[in-house]
C-alpha cells in the first residue's frame, strides 16, 4: 500500500500498563525490533496509569507523560487492576477516545466479554515467547499505525491529525 508518510515526523506514543517486569521487557523489545522508533512509556499499575493520563502524582511535568495514541493494558495488576482502570478511562470524557487494547494472561471468557463491554478495542492473550510477541506486535503496528486513523487532533498539536504513518516496512 502506498502509505502516507507522517509528514510531521510525529512519533506514535504507546503507553504500556504492566506490573510484571519480564512481560514489560518482552513487549518493549518486540517494539524495538522495528526500524521506526516509538515513544514507549510504561506504568506499573492502574493507579499509576490514571495518574499518568491525568498528569497527576509523579506525572506533573508535561513532557513526562505525553498523551498516548494507544494504551496496552494488562488486567491483573496490584492497587488498581486493568478492569477498573479501563472502566475509569472509558467513563472519562477527556480520556475515552484513546484506544485501549488489553494484553493479558487471562483467557477467562468473562474478562474478554467485559473488556469489550467497557469499550476496550481488542483483547489479546499475551504470547509467552519472543517470537509470539514479535508477531503480535507486528500485527498491532500494522493495524493501529498504518490501517487505522487515530484521534490525533485531541492533542492539539498544530490542530492537525496524525494520519496513518509508515511505521515499518514489510
Amino acid at each position: 500500500m502506498s502509505e502516507v508518510m507522517n509528514d510531521q515526523n510525529q512519533l506514535f506514543t504507546i503507553l504500556i500498563a504492566e506490573d510484571d517486569s519480564d512481560d514489560k521487557v518482552l513487549v518493549q523489545s518486540a517494539f524495538q525490533e522495528f526500524d521506526s522508533a516509538y515513544n514507549l512509556f510504561s506504568v506499573q499499575d492502574g493507579f499509576e496509569l490514571l495518574n499518568y493520563l491525568r498528569k497527576q502524582g509523579g506525572f506533573l511535568e508535561p513532557t513526562a507523560a505525553p498523551r498516548p495514541d494507544l494504551i496496552l493494558l494488562d488486567l491483573n495488576m496490584p492497587r488498581m487492576d486493568g478492569r477498573q482502570a479501563l472502566a475509569e478511562i472509558k467513563a472519562d470524557p477527556a480520556l475515552r477516545s484513546i484506544p485501549v487494547v488489553v494484553l493479558s494472561n487471562s483467557s477467562v471468557q468473562e474478562d474478554i466479554l467485559r473488556t469489550y463491554d467497557l469499550g476496550g478495542a481488542g483483547f489479546i492473550i499475551k504470547p509467552q515467547t519472543c517470537e509470539g510477541m514479535h508477531e503480535v506486535v507486528k500485527i498491532l503496528n500494522r493495524y493501529w499505525f498504518k490501517v487505522v486513523q487515530l484521534a490525533g487532533g485531541v492533542r492539539g498539536k498544530n490542530g492537525k491529525s496524525n494520519g496513518p504513518a509508515h511505521i515499518y516496512s514489510g
Binding site: E110, I112, G120, A121, I139, Y143, W144, V154, P164
Partner: protein, 154 residues
Amino acid sequence: MFNNAKPVTFLIAEDDPDDRLLIHEAFQESLVSNSIYFVEDGVKLLDYLRRQDKYTDPTVSPTPDLILLDLNMPRKDGREALAEIKSDPRLRYIPVVVLTTSKAEEDIMRSYDIGAASYITKPVTFEGLVEAIRGFKQYWVQIVCLPTQDAIDE
C-alpha cells in the same frame, strides 16, 4: 499460538452497492475465510442486531462478532447507529470499526468518543482496500480474542 479455530462473523453496514462489492471482494482476497453479512443503512443495522423486521431468524442473520460501519448512510447514519449500539447493554460488547470515506477530524474524534473500536478511512484504490482489510483481519481474526456466544448468553 493464535487462538482462532472459530470463524468470525462480520456485519457490514454500507449503503453504496459498489463499495459493498469492493469490500466483499477485498475480504475474499485476504486469506482467512469468514462469514460476512451486509445491511444498507443504520435502520437495517439496528433491525438486524435486534432481530426485528426481516432479521428474526438467527441462522439467516447470525449475531456478528464485529461490525464494520460506514458513516454516511441514508435514513439513519453511522454516527447515530453507533451511538445506539453503544448505549444498548445487549449490543455494546460488539466491537464497531468505522470504515468511511470521511477524513473529517470531527468524525474521527466523535467516533472514538462514542465507542468505536477503531476508525479506518477507506482507501481510494482497490489495492489499498485489500491491504487495509488484510491488516484489519490480521488484527481482529488472528491475534484478538472476541467474546464467545456462550459467554454472551450467560
